[in-house]
Symmetry: D2
Subunit: 350 residues, 4 copies
């Protein structure tokens, strides 16, 4: 019953096989190998556009380096107040951008709204040197709360970004989970809706350490290669990242993994909805489920071997917080989650 994080599973079999396959022979170092070129082309095929693609080893690196590309002196990035880039990356976006501010905005269930973005625009107006300048909006798709922006929502935010000449960044640590949830194409969920740059995550969905920054707006990423090296994120045996992506994309393995994780989350949701003691905190649109449980029950589950995290309820509006004696918990499914563990977990909630 491992629902603590999609990071607790190792790498999936096809990815391990790809690693073994591409381990043969010699190959130029530092990303100048044929496999890296091939994977770059694969990204272009998948996204149906001539994007630039740079692979790195962690989601924090992908986000922080991407945002640094958009940041100018005194810069700020509008993001949700609970966004990973603001609260979970130890200041990496601020550090790698030499001081850009992650400007937290409100929004229910992890999602920015046009209204809260407008509020941000008032807080950092244009052309006032004292306030610095806003340079980007960053969305998490899926969000930290397991919800996903609809394409119309992304388009609306993109319009706002264009009005203020801001880059639109998507943190896609759980890109695949949102994609299969929306049932649309990668192009539709990104550049066709106005996204300029994407942190494309594979690690949480079955890889060891494989992330990519995808620039649909290629000008933004024009010196990314130098940023990556300067931050220590260019691997010498770069093909080991490319190899993971090879396994990830082959035969739609990535979509299968995401569909499985989401399906397991759906089963959790269904079980919670019929539970007399648990309450679904809000709708899930990915592989994350947030649930309000009595403390006693949570303790019993842990004793039974379930792994999952209590979640700070201050991410909720006051009126949405759990009732007395309950707390908020996060349950995350992964490509490896077994249905029997889900059923076992739900048995405690019945």
């Amino acid at each position: 019953m491992f629902f603590a994080s999609d990071n607790w599973a190792g790498a999936s079999e096809p990815i391990m096989q790809a690693l073994a396959q591409h381990n043969q022979g010699y190959s130029p170092a530092y990303g100048e190998d044929a496999l890296t070129a091939h994977i770059t082309q694969t990204f272009r095929d998948i996204f149906e556009t001539d994007c630039d693609v740079w692979m790195v080893g962690s989601g924090t690196a992908a986000n922080a380096l991407a945002l640094s590309c958009a940041s100018e002196p005194g810069g700020a990035v509008f993001c949700h107040k609970d966004a990973h880039i603001r609260v979970d990356e130890c200041g990496a976006p601020e550090f790698l951008s030499s001081g850009a501010r992650m400007w937290g905005l409100d929004g229910r269930h992890g999602k920015l709204t046009p209204e809260t973005i407008q509020q941000g625009f008032e807080e950092i107006p244009q052309g006032v040197v004292h306030h610095g300048m806003a340079n980007a909006i960053s969305l998490s798709q899926a969000s930290e709360a397991g919800t996903a922006y609809s394409i119309a929502e992304i388009e609306r935010i993109s319009e706002l970004a264009k009005q203020r000449d801001l880059a639109l960044h998507m943190d896609g640590a759980r890109f695949a989970n949102a994609l299969v949830s929306l049932d649309c194409s990668p192009a539709q969920m990104t550049w066709q809706a106005g996204v300029d740059m994407l942190s494309f995550g594979a690690t949480k969905n079955g890889a060891w350490a494989a992330e990519a920054v995808v620039f649909f707006n290629r000008h933004l990423g024009r010196n990314f290669e130098y940023r990556r090296k300067r931050a220590g994120h260019l691997f010498s045996k770069m093909r080991f990242v490319a190899a993971q992506f090879d396994g990830y994309f082959k035969d739609d393995h990535w979509l299968d993994n995401a569909r499985h994780a989401n399906a397991m989350a759906d089963k959790l949701v269904k079980g919670i909805e019929t539970s007399p003691v648990a309450q679904l905190a809000w709708e899930s649109q990915s592989n994350e489920v947030f649930v309000s449980l009595p403390h006693e029950l949570a303790k019993r589950l842990e004793q039974a071997g379930a792994a999952f995290h209590e979640w700070p309820s201050n991410i909720l509006a006051r009126q949405d917080r759990p009732q007395a004696g309950h707390s908020l918990y996060r349950l995350v499914c992964s490509y490896r989650t077994r249905e029997e563990d889900v059923q076992n977990f739900l048995r405690y909630l019945a």
Copy 2:
């Protein structure tokens, strides 16, 4: 005939096996797993001391983060003018330390001497705010030129460092190659000789992406964990680095790899010494060999499929530079280098 770099080979078999073995099951993310703890203890056993150990994925990250730990405002690091940290890391040490200067000093064949360090002391005297302050000396063991410091040499430099209260850092991207060349213990080559912190490399010697920063002076590394995360170098599935180290250390695999690479380099040296056309540029004490070759011959070798790099001869003192019609070339052997390739290469030199 692959002598371009020890980065061109993939991962060795025992390391691939360890990855597969530790891929089983769930495991806490972000380095809080049992395997990471086990590997930390292995390092302590190998170095015979209670050091702190932090794993990362690239040598540039290891060096730059380590040096940032010693850097104070206006800081400088004394290093050889050809040191990797100064010329080959795209300013990563400067960036991750928020501006420390890599202060290049002379020295034959890639090695600092007490005299050139003394010269550095004069260039950045103590207590003058305009000049900033020196914070560290960094040695590369083995050096960029394939040479190695003797233990007595390290001790002498350590004495100088102590005089000025400087941290002593060792860039051990090729630590194992130097170690087997000196035929001493890891403890002797590091903390017992006065080294405060070590970038311990495994990637060039058979891993995919596995490096560690080892703090013998634990105070220096007290907030390394935050530095690593802030720079995006904490992997979520951290055990994939630990697993590589597990395969690396098991049954002295790391020492075997290094011995093989050095032995192949020795064979190259022997062949060059008897060659009527090639000249050994200087003694090799690791897996790197520098040789002066006629341009024609170099071209012929490349046409025959040999991969190796011409090396800028400005790293040589003027009197040591290759004669007209010759250039300096670097030949690197790795754990994978085959003796038949060495013999084949030498046939062209005969």
Copy 3:
């Protein structure tokens, strides 16, 4: 009728005289002159303790450099969401600290409360690398809203800071105005109440460009001299800053200036309280007055030559915002404000 800012006046006469007086003769550069040493001692006398004192030329430099001294990798500074360091310094504290986050907290009328600080403690708990680490609390005395913390309030916040081992910083851009408002000693308002470091401002109160960072906790400022130089804030003719302080402190000129500015603000308050159209937004405890005025009236005042700024009402809790047709305005008095201008202004409000 200049109420736009206390920065619109030039330097006061005693300060100009001190500049002329100390312009005579030669004097060592870069702060190694006798006058700088003398002023340092004057600070120690005024604060009744052996503090360290470093002069700079701008309040932003003072704040940002001071906070950088407390900042560790992944650091955060708790401050009011409207604090100057968070919204008015173009990211200088973030930049000069290499990425520390100014963590905005709520609080009525510009002041942090123990409750909102506690909330911050929950948002950045101790020992979780993902969230980084909190390093300091920063108070503005007087606050951006013209209010002042009582000594008991400072002490209470200091207790909280000690619990979490945070440095307590005071932004004293309007230190003198708060001091004469509280009618206490400089020592009482700072280190005796638990303040570790102070940005001591003179510019808004009659100097040209004279600020000082005062370290009561001297360990925090141990390498400030290098930080100041590294950021370009060490003046070669440093005595021109020291000279301003000489005029500032002589014969309690600084306290006279502040008392005058506060008295003028008091007269504005009195007039507003009896106005049938204007509403005092909240109590003033310094030289700043916030008032709600009908737009029409504000326009008429501007046409009559009054200079003052509309203030974003989003700094107010929703229930405190001005009624329809009104906006919030800030009126600032300085050492140079003339009583007749105050009376003239008030005539429009009657």
Copy 4:
């Protein structure tokens, strides 16, 4: 006999008068005042072009902020190995540019040559991510050694800069001294010879704290305003800098000051040339004179009240170093140097 530095004198009379004059009345803060606009126009008149002009308070700030404008990730600035930006600014250019490397090159008497620049080009070739990228060449005019580049020399270096698409920066801390020495126009010595940006110093030549960054290539400085504020270098009472420039430029006061200082240096040179014991180290083309003196004589001069600094002779090529028993000394004249002090000094050398 004050020859220690041109920073030891205070401000000249016309500058003090301008400060007093512009102290009257109220004026918008943060550089939005009429005087700042007027001075900007004055710069354009003097340089006969539509440059952008940003005033700051220290030469280190001017240099470091200017260079940060040209710096990209992994950047490097070619400069003389003894350049102020490399050895005397405590790492400010590195810090404010987030890690750009000041890449020291050789050259006799403080001046870069086409040959040494070419050597730098080889050390940091284009398009190799490991080496980072060179972004600028920085010249000091006059140099740290008191010499000046001829216009032809500047043009030649500018050609090299254009070849590699590098910005050409001039550190003009002693701009006026070089200008009157060359007897050319400000336009000729800068943009007409290919200079992109200039640190224009007034402090050493009679101001308190007045420097400006002048962008002939306006694109380079497009967000300078934000850089200045973000580093704490925007003064609230900005007009106090503008006022100094008003006094500086009025009636060619700045040129008079520089001519006087250079003339005093010339007299020193003449005296040294006829001295039986002192040796002129090299030709002076500004207000700085470098001389080799017997230690005994230097000591006697100091006892007689002369202030001047011994200079590290490692700035000299080995063959140029002072003979045994002698050392190298720097003598600096300023607008305030009195002829009788020069004569008195020379009496000891006779």
